[in-house]
C-alpha cells in the first residue's frame, strides 16, 4: 500500500472525477430503465424471434455500457480494451464452435442416458 503523504489530486483531476460522477448516475438510471424494459418485453405479444433479438441487443448494450463507463475502459488505455475483447471473442468463438459441433438436429440424446 501507499503512503498517505502523496500529492493531493489536482483541480483538473477533481473536475474530471465530478464529470464521471454524473456519468455514473445517468448510466445507473439508464441500466435500471433498460432492465425494466426487458422484463416488460417478455410479456408483449410479439414474435419470439423479435423479442429474442431485442433482448440480446439490450443485454449487449448494458454489458458494454458497464465495461466502458463503470469499468473505466472509455477513460483508460486502449490496450486494456483489446485484452478484454480478446477474452470476449474467445468466449463467443467457444459458443459458436460448440453450437456447430452439437448441432441439435443431428444429436441423438438417448446417447446421454
Amino acid at each position: 500500500m501507499s503512503s498517505s503523504h502523496e500529492a493531493a489530486p489536482s483541480k483538473a483531476f477533481l473536475a474530471e472525477e465530478v464529470r464521471r460522477y454524473h456519468h455514473f448516475i445517468v448510466l445507473a438510471l439508464w441500466l435500471a430503465v433498460v432492465t425494466g424494459a426487458e422484463i416488460v418485453l417478455i410479456y408483449l405479444p410479439l414474435p419470439t424471434a423479435v423479442i429474442f433479438t431485442i433482448l440480446t441487443l439490450m443485454s449487449a448494450g448494458k454489458f458494454f455500457a458497464v465495461i466502458m463507463w463503470f469499468m473505466h475502459l472509455i477513460y483508460d488505455k486502449r490496450l486494456l480494451f483489446w485484452c478484454f475483447l480478446a477474452g470476449l471473442v474467445l468466449a463467443f468463438a467457444t459458443f459458436a464452435a460448440m453450437l456447430a459441433l452439437f448441432s441439435a438436429d443431428r444429436i441423438d440424446t438417448r446417447w446421454f442416458s
Partner: protein
C-alpha cells in the same frame, strides 16, 4: 485516453499499472470460463428442452420454478451495487475515504442481499425437485449460477477486507485508489456476467408457452 489518465500514467512499459493489467487479463480469462458455462447450459437446454422429472416422477418445466419477481429484484440489486462501487472508486480517487466507506458498505449489503436471494432460490428449487443430479438442466443451472454466486461471495469478502483495511490509514494515495479500482473491476465483472445470465438463462424461458426451447419438445410432452 483522457488528460487525467495521462497525468496518472504508470512508470511501466505499457503505461498501465501492473495490478490493473493483471486484473484485466484475469477478467478476460474468466470471460472464457463463464462463456463455456453459459454455452454448455444453452446447448443442453436445446438438447433437453423438457425440463426435469421431480421425486414423484412428474414432468416439470423450469418455467414452473422461476420467479421473475425475485430474479428481477436481485438483478436490480446487483446493478445498483455496481453503481455504488463506481462511486466508491471515484471517492478513493478524490481521497475521500469516508465516502468510500459509505459506498463500499452499500455494495457489501447489496452483495449479501443478492446472495440471500440466490440461497432462497436454490432452496426453493431443491424442494420442488430440481437437484444437481436428477437432470442435465439441474446440473448446468446450478453449476453456472453457483459459480457466479461464488464469484459474488469472493467479491463481498474482498470488499469487507478493504472496508476494514481503510481504518488502518494505509489505504490512501494513488496505490490505495488503485487497490480499490482493481477490486471494483472484479465487482463490475460479476455484474456484467449476471447481465448475460439474466437474459440467457432466465428471460428466454418466458418466450413462448414453453420457453424459447419449447419448439424442440415432442407433442406428447406439451
Amino acid at each position: 485516453m483522457s488528460d487525467t489518465a495521462a497525468a496518472h500514467e504508470a512508470p511501466t512499459s505499457t503505461g498501465i499499472d501492473h495490478k490493473k493489467l493483471i486484473m484485466w487479463l484475469f477478467l478476460a480469462s474468466d470471460c472464457m470460463f463463464f462463456g463455456t458455462l453459459i454455452s454448455t447450459h444453452l446447448l443442453y437446454r436445446k438438447l433437453f428442452p423438457a425440463g426435469f422429472t421431480d421425486a414423484e416422477g412428474h414432468q416439470r418445466f423450469i418455467q414452473d420454478l422461476f420467479s421473475i419477481e425475485l430474479t428481477s429484484f436481485s438483478t436490480f440489486i446487483l446493478l445498483m451495487s455496481s453503481f455504488l462501487m463506481a462511486l466508491a472508486v471515484s471517492a478513493m480517487h478524490k481521497g475521500q475515504v469516508k465516502s468510500f466507506r459509505r459506498n463500499v458498505l452499500g455494495v457489501i449489503v447489496f452483495g449479501l442481499i443478492f446472495l440471500g436471494c440466490q440461497v432462497f432460490e436454490f432452496t426453493h428449487f431443491y424442494h420442488k425437485g430440481l437437484t444437481i443430479q436428477n437432470s442435465v438442466l439441474g446440473s448446468t443451472f446450478y453449476v453456472l449460477t453457483g459459480t457466479h454466486g461464488t464469484h459474488v461471495a469472493i467479491g463481498v469478502l474482498w470488499l469487507i477486507l478493504l472496508y476494514f483495511y481503510s481504518f488502518t490509514g494505509k489505504l490512501g494515495g494513488h496505490m490505495g485508489a488503485l487497490d480499490v479500482e482493481v477490486a471494483g473491476l472484479y465487482w463490475h465483472f460479476v455484474d456484467i456476467v449476471w447481465i448475460i445470465i439474466f437474459t440467457a438463462v432466465y428471460l428466454v424461458e418466458y418466450l413462448g408457452p414453453y420457453g424459447i426451447w419449447g419448439s424442440g419438445l415432442p407433442a406428447v410432452v406439451k
